[in-house]
Amino acid sequence: MKFTINRNQFIKKISNVQRAISTKTTIPILTGIKLELSQEGLTITGSDVDISIQTFISVSDADNELHIENTGAIVLPARFFNEIIKKLPGEQFTLNVVENNQTIIKSGKTEFTINGLDANSYPRLPEVESNEKLSISAEMLRQLVDETVFSASKQENRPILTGLHLKISAEKLLGVATDSHRLAQRIVKVNNQSDNDYDIVVPARSLKELEHCLIEDNSEIKISISENQILFEFQNTLFYSRLLEGNYPGTDRLIPTSSDTQLTFDAKSLLQSVERASLLSHASRNNVVRLAIDVNASKVTLYGNSPEVGTVEENLTTEALSGADLEISFNPDYLKEALQAFGDTKIEVEFTSALHPFTLKPSDNKENFIQLITPVRTF
């Protein structure tokens, strides 16, 4: 196997593949990056079993300056390979596999000889039948991930809650993440030409990595789903992720259908108030802030306190206020993260009682985006 390629183009193309490669893997060959050269171009693969990313550099794209002398395949230690390519002096480099998987990388006046591994011992990628019928715009997918995934559990003791629950029926994709303390649910539009409905749980980590891969992408992303894998296809790249096994708990009934107290806030200014109150609540042991709503006086007050440091009290500016008086306590960090997901918009906050979870929805998109926070009992 021997080829010459433009170095900068190569670095750009392998940066996504690098995301899948972990140094902490139990299978030594997975610390490597697999290069496979055919007459059509170069296929690069990285994997950590959970996530596998494969990208293709086409010989027909002139920018790549890819010249193939002879085809073949090799696995090279990813960390060193990456560093070496980045530091090479020339604009191009030549990679040549000689005997015993030894690989010579040449650029300008520099020549590295690297011990590679036999590409035949690299695990095969999962097989997912490519489906032409399901796709979503990169922007929608980014929004969905951005606005829900932070609510997924970070604790491994309940594996199913570390994923994002995705339900696709007709043209509607519903994503839910919860760690049982808070919940985020977002509905976006997908392009679904098939009659199939799907109900799957994708690891939150996979989606975060996928989101990084899509940062500058505005194309349509094809989605294929098999029994235990999901495949996203975009721009010469294949992104595979394992699905989580097990049934996701029913979350529909957690979301209250009616409310007794309704408030409308500007999300940004509420976020600032909560951040101030949490300065002191963080210093106390239980990290709780208290919200007191007096409807007749149209006064909403946020209290934070730390027995050692002191107290804070702030009258919040509301856009609208109705319903019954209420006093409720909650963890300000959950509210903070929820508000960050809303960005700069008006939000409606609805309470049922001091014991029941309360909901937050953006005024302009009430149907499709809802977040839920469980209060803290303080008696």
């Binding site: 809650l161 919860t178 049982s180 009934r253 014991l355 029941h356 979870p357 839920l372 209060p375 009992r377």
Partner: protein, 109 residues
């Protein structure tokens, strides 16, 4: 003889460690007895309070059914009562939306 001295020393140490162990066992027994008694008193106190509430009959707030009250008590002691993680310890007593739904939620009969 030096060696004999050591032997006597060992004998002495063994004796005192045996004494200590015996005392520890005694103390442990007493503690567990007290804890048991304490738990009994708590339950009895609860019953008495309930009885008192019944007699006073001035409770205007709607009471949860007995089964849910038991679950609520378990939850307050720091255990999950939801189907997702029933019986697991609630870390840092963090609230759980699933449990709250089980205890307070409306459930179709």
């Amino acid at each position: 003889m030096e060696q004999k001295d050591y032997y006597a020393k060992f004998e002495e140490l063994q004796q005192s460690s045996q004494d200590l162990t015996r005392k520890l066992i005694e103390m442990k027994d007493i503690i567990s007895h007290i804890l048991e008694e304490n738990a009994e008193f708590k339950i009895e106190n609860d019953h008495l309070r309930q009885r008192l509430a019944e007699i006073d009959n001035d409770k205007t707030t709607p009471q949860l059914p007995e089964a849910r009250r038991t679950l609520e008590k378990l939850y307050e002691e720091g255990f999950h009562v939801c189907t997702v993680m029933y019986g697991a310890h609630r870390e840092n007593k963090e609230e759980c939306a699933f449990c709250l739904d089980v205890i307070y939620g409306e459930r179709g009969v």
